[in-house]
């Protein structure tokens, strides 16, 4: 007779039955709760809110007491199995459930039950613990304590797959530092995992691959100890698994090999293995499930920052394949995000990749992704754009400054997610370096005003990226555009950004000033607006510059100001000297003595402009500089290791000699 769903008790009713005095009623209710929540996230949430987890954890705890008192065995085991299974299901892929199970104090009880004589109990408990360890919320396992390591070894040595699988999960979740990795190696855990690779079942092999990758991550020492003496053999079992018939195993094996490659320059470097990895990962894209979703992320970890691999991937038609998949549409958001990030990595350095990307018309699809409902996808689309817009050839041709891209991109400035905002700003920073004069599109759609708004954001990363975009926007732009930006920004905002608490923001603000005043002499007036607010801010910031980059941008800003008229040059001089306070040394000398060649260059350039022979006030300024010991400092730099510095030093000395210095 087909099943019916009549007379289903309400969840609250079920919950009250969990505390019933009658064992029959209680166990039936427990089983019912378990069956309702398995596979059903909505039910897990609603039972959770009703307080089911503490109730079930309570049953588990009571049953343990019964075990110790040797009460009715079968019944007790049943309670243990059902409650452990229910707790495991609450924790399965559901962080709120994991937290609830931990808060209810069930974790130590579950651990104790691993020693229970009944197989079914152990299975249920081991599964529940494994669900917990798959979550980031799992308690940290301290490998460095001797008895913990022994316990772990006993888990891995167990005949029961559920238990040894748990051991592997603990390693995958909790092993973080190099010290822990070494401790695991020393305890012989890696040999054990390797034997599970070769002899274990499918799920055990997969679990071992994940654990091995965790122990190898960023630890070349452990890798070489593991693979070294029997060169090739332990690694060859992993390489074989990369060709396994099960897609998940292939993916995990590839990820493990990539971890080894990235950590250690000695292993897996030949072109054969590189090509193989690329091909396997590209082929895994065809898997319709989770494996296919994760494959592009593994691909990114393989090729990121590595031009040789990007070239090989290009030859393997990676971009075509990614294009093919995005074109299909209705992708799982994780997969969509992964593919976009993989394309971003492919195009991050090589112009050949960007050309391929643009020739296939992938750009339109990426522009669509800018309006996707998933924040991760939107951010990934922006990151992809940032890579592609590094193509100077296409940038100069004004290829990207069009409405299909600029309008959705500017809309993302108001995105609720900060990471999307920052990513959009990154892409914008490249696009606005438009060497044609089509920047007006950006102004027309309100982009420039938005950027100024974002420069006032509470998030420092948003502020600094917005300034970066503005800095690029005004780079060699015409006067009208620059004036527009300045009036939108206002002197008081810009000066407060120069004095921002975050160094990265200070740096970008100074660089923005540098670009603003570069070029026409009228623009230099910006720094004098409102009683010299900006100029004053620059001076104060240079006095306490926390890193070289701030000094560099600030000095170049001053350098540009000093390229103006006499009034401007005098103002700069005053700035350089009034900031001394009780320090005998001007920051100028400090900068000249810096280890950073760019900072030295910028400073010397400023001196060049201040002592330009054609200007009437030059001799007087030179005298002041001499008295401050700056000229003699410069004389010491005649043989500076940096060519730029050397040349400018000679210019200064040449100019000073024109005034009769020896």
């Amino acid at each position: 007779m087909p099943s019916a769903t009549v007379n289903k008790p309400r969840p609250s009713e079920l919950l009250s039955r969990l505390t019933s005095a009658e064992p029959e009623v209680k166990v039936r209710a427990l089983r019912e709760v378990k069956n309702q929540i398995i596979g059903n996230r909505t039910k897990k949430l609603s039972f959770l809110k009703l307080g089911a987890v503490p109730a079930v954890a309570g049953i588990l705890a009571d049953s343990i007491d019964d075990v110790t008192e040797n009460n009715n065995c079968n019944n007790t085991n049943n309670f243990l199995v059902q409650s452990a299974a229910a707790l495991g299901s609450f924790a399965c892929g559901f962080d709120a459930g994991v937290q609830a199970v931990l808060d209810a104090g069930a974790f130590p009880n579950l651990l104790r039950l691993l020693a229970n004589p009944n197989e079914k109990v152990v299975d249920a408990v081991a599964r529940a613990l494994r669900m917990i360890y798959q979550s980031k919320l799992a308690p940290k396992y301290d490998f460095l304590q001797q008895k913990n390591m022994e316990f772990l070894i006993s888990l891995l040595n167990s005949e029961k797959e559920t238990v040894s699988g748990l051991g592997a999960s603990i390693i995958s979740r909790s092993c973080e530092t190099n010290l822990e990795q070494k401790a695991l190696f020393d305890a012989g855990i890696l040999r054990k995992l390797n034997s599970l690779l070769e002899g274990g079942s499918l799920s055990l092999r997969d679990a071992s691959l994940e654990s091995l990758a965790t122990v190898f991550r960023n630890n070349p020492e452990v890798i070489s100890k593991f693979a070294g003496p029997e060169i090739g053999r332990p690694l060859s079992s992993i390489i074989d698994l990369a060709k396994d018939r099960y897609p998940r195993t292939r993916l995990l094996a590839c990820m493990c090999l990539i971890v080894i490659r990235n950590a250690s320059p000695h292993f897996l470097q030949d072109i054969g293995i590189k090509t193989k990895l690329i091909h396997i990962l590209l082929e895994l894209l065809d898997d319709p499930g989770q494996v296919g979703d994760e494959a592009p992320f593994a691909f990114s970890s393989l090729i990121a920052q590595k031009e040789d691999l990007q070239k090989l991937a290009l030859e393997a038609n990676a971009i075509d394949k990614f294009h093919h998949h995005i074109k299909k549409g209705s992708l799982h958001p994780r997969r969509y995000e992964g593919i976009l990030l993989a394309l971003a990595d492919m195009c991050s350095k090589l112009e050949s990749c960007r050309s391929k990307f643009l020739s296939l018309q992938v750009l339109n699809l990426v522009a669509d992704a800018l309006t996707d409902y998933n924040a991760g996808v939107r951010a990934a689309a922006c990151i992809c754009l940032k890579s592609v817009t590094r193509s100077i050839k296409n940038l100069s041709a004004g290829y990207f400054m069009n409405e299909t891209i600029v309008i959705p991109l500017v809309q993302l400035f108001l995105d609720p997610s900060t990471s999307v905002q920052v990513a959009a700003l990154g892409a914008t920073s490249n696009i606005v370096v438009d060497f044609t004069t089509r920047k007006s599109i950006f102004v027309q759609c309100g982009g420039m005003k938005q950027l100024v708004q974002l420069a006032k954001s509470m998030e420092s990363s948003v502020r600094s990226n917005a300034l970066w975009a503005l800095k690029n926007f005004v780079f060699q732009a015409d006067n009208r555009l620059k004036e527009g930006v300045f009036s939108e920004l206002t002197a008081s905002l810009l000066s407060s950004l120069i004095r921002d608490p975050e160094p990265s923001v200070q740096e970008q603000a100074l660089a923005l000033v540098r670009n603003l005043v570069d070029g026409c002499i009228n623009l230099i007036e910006f720094v004098f607006a409102e009683d010299g607010l900006i100029l004053g801010a620059i001076g104060r910031q240079l006095q306490c510059a926390s890193k070289a980059e701030i000094g560099i941008q600030g000095m170049y800003a001053l350098c540009n100001v000093a390229s103006g008229n006499e009034f401007h040059r005098e103002a700069v001089m005053q700035l350089l000297f009034t900031q001394m306070g009780d320090k005998n040394q001007s920051f100028v000398v400090k900068f000249l003595q810096s280890n950073d060649s760019q900072l030295r260059t910028a400073t010397v350039w400023t001196i060049v402009n201040l002592t330009c022979p054609s200007s009437p006030g030059a001799p007087c300024r030179l005298e002041k500089l001499r008295n401050a010991g700056i000229v003699s400092q410069i004389k010491n730099m005649v043989n500076d290791p940096c060519v730029d510095v050397k040349l400018r030093v000679r210019t200064v000395l040449g100019q000073s000699m024109a005034f009769g210095d020896n």
């Binding site: 087909p2 378990k34 398995i38 596979g39 059903n40 996230r41 495991g88 299901s89 055990l204």
Partner: protein
């Protein structure tokens, strides 16, 4: 007419040439080569046992083991557990099947959203089949709609299933195959495969792969040679090559 008589020998010659561009292997030669290959009885027994285990014929497994001494690669008790689940689905007792699967291994349905959805879908179909319309609607709303929200393809499947309620004459509607017994079998096979996978056992019998290999190999060879091929797998007789 006379032209016709001239053409015939020409055609025959061309055909002979075409036939001879592929290598020809006659039956005698072929059988001689086949006889060189040794297949062990134990291997064949293992193949049969593997088939019986995968398909879940628990009694046959026990009997075959007794008669041949071949060890099944799985506990008979496990096979019987799995069969109980499969049979429950095939009889339309989906709720019972779900409870049994969860007793076997709660992870299966917790980590297989597609399978779980199909089982819930089958429950809905059974409710509709038994004309429990109100219950069906309540069930669809409470249990299945949230799954549809999580996944686009589930939503489409759900809509197809619910549309059964719209048609007065279900035997003629476009989604009538959902009410067919074959739908139950499809779901039952899905559960069977998931249980086997969770036990780290392959979900298809090896015999299946061997037959596929045979078909593929013959297709490949067809392009290069004419030889006695097997056309009917049930009879497994060699057909004489056409010359």
């Amino acid at each position: 007419m006379s032209l016709f008589w001239v053409m015939i020998p020409q055609l025959a010659e061309i055909q002979e040439q075409m036939a001879s561009s592929k290598k020809v292997i006659m039956r005698e030669e072929w059988e001689k080569r086949l006889n060189h290959i040794r297949i062990r009885k134990e291997d064949m027994n293992k193949l049969v046992m593997n088939f019986l285990v995968t398909e879940g014929y628990a009694e046959a497994v026990a009997k075959f083991r007794m008669e041949t001494g071949t060890e099944p690669d799985m506990d008979v008790a496990m096979i019987m557990d799995r069969m109980a689940v499969k049979e429950a689905v095939q009889c339309g007792n989906v709720e019972d099947a779900i409870e049994k699967v969860n007793d076997l291994n709660p992870e299966i349905l917790d980590t297989n959203p597609e399978l779980f959805f199909h089982l819930q879908q089958q429950r809905l179909i059974e409710l509709i089949r038994n004309e429990k319309i109100e219950e069906a609607l309540e069930f669809a709303q409470e249990e299945l709609a949230p799954r549809g929200e999580e996944n686009q393809s589930f939503l489409e499947e759900l809509e197809r299933t619910v549309s059964l309620l719209v048609f007065k004459d279900v035997s003629n509607c476009p989604v009538r195959e959902l009410l067919d017994i074959s739908q139950r079998l499809k779901t039952a096979n899905e559960v069977n495969a998931a249980i086997l996978t969770s036990q780290s056992h392959e979900k298809d019998p090896k015999l299946h792969s061997l037959l596929k290999m045979l078909i593929w190999a013959q297709n490949q060879l067809d392009e290069k040679a004419t030889y006695p091929r097997i056309k009917d797998f049930l009879k497994a007789t060699l057909e004489n090559p056409a010359v």
